[in-house]
């Protein structure tokens, strides 16, 4: 019959066999062993077990395990394996960043600029600006933007544009967008402005008025294309929404903006409505060679930037993969 024993007694007996108990514990255990037969039985069995284990033959190594120089990893392996691993990890991280940037369009300024261009006629259409002023200002703005970004637009060019009667309220809106708008705007046009949440950047992006409005804001009398771009860029997403997608009908304004503009007898507004209706409307309304050239140039730049991005991504992927494989091979050699 198998005697029962507590884990604590088992440990005491095991240590007693190995003479690991202190004198007090040993005497106490010996006294118990003299009285408890079960404890004595377990002790004897443990002693036999230990003797059996100790009697096991000591095996000899089947061969010598001495090392030769070729079994040891070379210094190059020790040095390059972690380095390659680091390079691979770094390239993978950069690839992820570039891919993420590509996904969110962070590396495509040309695309952003292209999206800004259609925004101009769209907002203008609500202001009732004369088509001649729009054409001149648009041409001036593009011609100023394309050849040299830093070339300033002269005050004459800005002031040549005849201010309309809506200019003052727009300037006021540009300065204080939260303030109530001027009363000289037509009611529906004003409501449209609110619905589209027109911001100062959008107002200034109107080619015919932006020059006047921005010159009023800056007060410097000169306007650089950089300022124009700064004013236009924040409205790029809104421009994209309002030019490439159908204009949503506001809840409080039954008629559609396009319908209203088409009903207006002004031929200039009709032209503006056409511009708004098609994304390529700018080319149709302004068939001048400068604008066509600029669009083609931007598209060329955009596709070139995209190619560069793809090449960069491919290079990073190659580096990440190659360095990773190399590190793996080196480590594998090191193990052997």
């Amino acid at each position: 019959m198998k005697p029962r024993i507590s884990p604590r007694d088992l440990e005491l007996l095991s240590q007693y066999l190995d003479q690991q108990l202190g004198p007090i514990e040993r005497k106490r255990l010996e006294a118990r062993l003299a009285e408890e037969a079960a404890l004595q039985t377990v002790l004897e069995d443990l002693q036999k077990t230990r003797l059996l284990l100790r009697s096991m033959p000591r095996l000899r190594a089947p061969r010598n395990f001495t090392l030769s120089q070729h079994q040891l990893p070379s210094r190059a392996v020790r040095r390059w394996a972690p380095a390659m691993g680091f390079v691979s990890a770094l390239a993978s991280l950069l690839l992820l960043l570039v891919l993420a940037g590509d996904l969110f369009g962070l590396f495509l300024p040309a695309r952003v600029a292209r999206l800004v261009v259609p925004a101009a006629p769209e907002v203008k259409s609500f202001q009732g600006i004369s088509p001649t002023g729009l054409a001149e200002a648009t041409q001036q703005a593009f011609s100023a933007m394309l050849p040299k970004v830093t070339s300033p637009v002269s005050q004459d060019q800005a002031t040549n544009i005849t201010p309309t009667e809506t200019q003052a309220p727009l300037a006021a809106m540009a300065e204080a967008p939260q303030a109530p708008t001027g009363t000289s705007l037509p009611d529906e046009a004003e409501r449209e402005m609110k619905n589209y949440q027109v911001q100062p950047g959008v107002v200034m992006s109107t080619p015919g008025q932006s020059l006047g409005a921005s010159s009023q804001i800056s007060g410097s009398g000169t306007l650089t294309t950089t300022e124009i771009l700064k004013a236009q860029v924040p409205s790029a997403e809104e421009a994209l929404q309002t030019t490439e997608q159908p204009v949503p009908a506001p809840a409080n304004i039954p008629p559609q903006p396009l319908e209203k503009l088409e009903a207006t007898p002004s031929s200039g507004q009709e032209e503006s409505a056409e511009v708004m209706a098609t994304p390529e409307g700018l080319d149709q309304s302004q068939p001048g060679p400068q604008i066509n050239t600029s669009n083609a140039g931007e598209r060329g730049t955009s596709s070139f930037a995209r190619w560069l991005l793809w090449i960069l991504e491919a290079l990073l992927a190659l580096v990440a993969l190659g360095a990773g494989i190399l590190a793996w091979v080196l480590r594998r050699q090191q193990r052997r």
């Binding site: 059996l52 284990l53 000591r58 190594a61 001495t66």
Partner: protein, 203 residues
């Protein structure tokens, strides 16, 4: 004769010959630990070789103390890796079969008196029986009992070789011995004469 510490110091400075002298000194010890933990010679030889390669690579991390305990810790860790690998990809061991072709799962097949014509055979069978019982132990228990009862390390060295506190080593050793006693109790017939006589006197 160059003492061990000097050999270790030379090996740490890149002297491969000094390291190989340490290998020759300890290869039986390391191999025995691997065989008892893995229960198989071929894997044990591989583990032994890997242990010395690892030891050479890690010599800089040796900070004194028992060198054999340090080596035994390395080989024990490699054996744990191999045991884990086996658990992930289990293989069917070659078990003895009875007359009907059924596998005999209990190691009691060794206790057949017909297989004990000579003493050396008795010892060989006893060794296999003990190894079977060792194989049935949990890995942590097996490591400690091999270190103390087969390799002859004291408690402190065993604690160093396992990387566990002294109390854990004592507890595991006691429970491992008790389990082995339960396993080996069916093999008393294979015990050397002195043990058999003791059993008969007791009964």
């Amino acid at each position: 004769m160059i003492d061990e510490e000097e050999l270790i110091r030379s090996a740490q400075q890149g002297d491969l010959e000094a390291f190989n002298r340490l290998v020759l000194q300890y290869q039986d010890l390391v191999y025995n630990q691997a065989v008892r933990m893995l229960g198989e010679a071929e894997s044990a030889a591989d583990a032994t070789q890997d242990a010395f390669i690892t030891a050479h690579r890690s010599l800089a991390s040796y900070r004194g103390g028992s060198f054999r305990a340090w080596l035994l810790r390395i080989v024990s860790n490699l054996c744990y890796d191999e045991l884990r690998r086996r658990k992930r990809r289990p293989t069917t061991p070659l078990e003895p079969q009875d007359d009907d072709g059924e596998e005999v799962e209990s190691p009691a097949w060794i206790a057949d008196p017909a297989e004990l014509p000579e003493d050396h055979l008795v010892r060989a069978d006893l060794g296999r029986a003990i190894q079977r019982c060792l194989d049935e132990l949990p890995d942590d228990f097996r490591q400690v009992v091999v270190l103390v009862d087969i390799q002859g390390l004291d408690y402190t060295e065993a604690a160093q070789a396992t990387g566990k506190p002294l109390g854990t080593v004592k507890s595991r050793l006691a429970r491992a011995r008790f389990r082995l006693r339960d396993c080996l109790i069916g093999f008393w017939e294979l015990l050397p004469d002195e043990f058999r006589l003791e059993k008969e006197n007791r009964s």
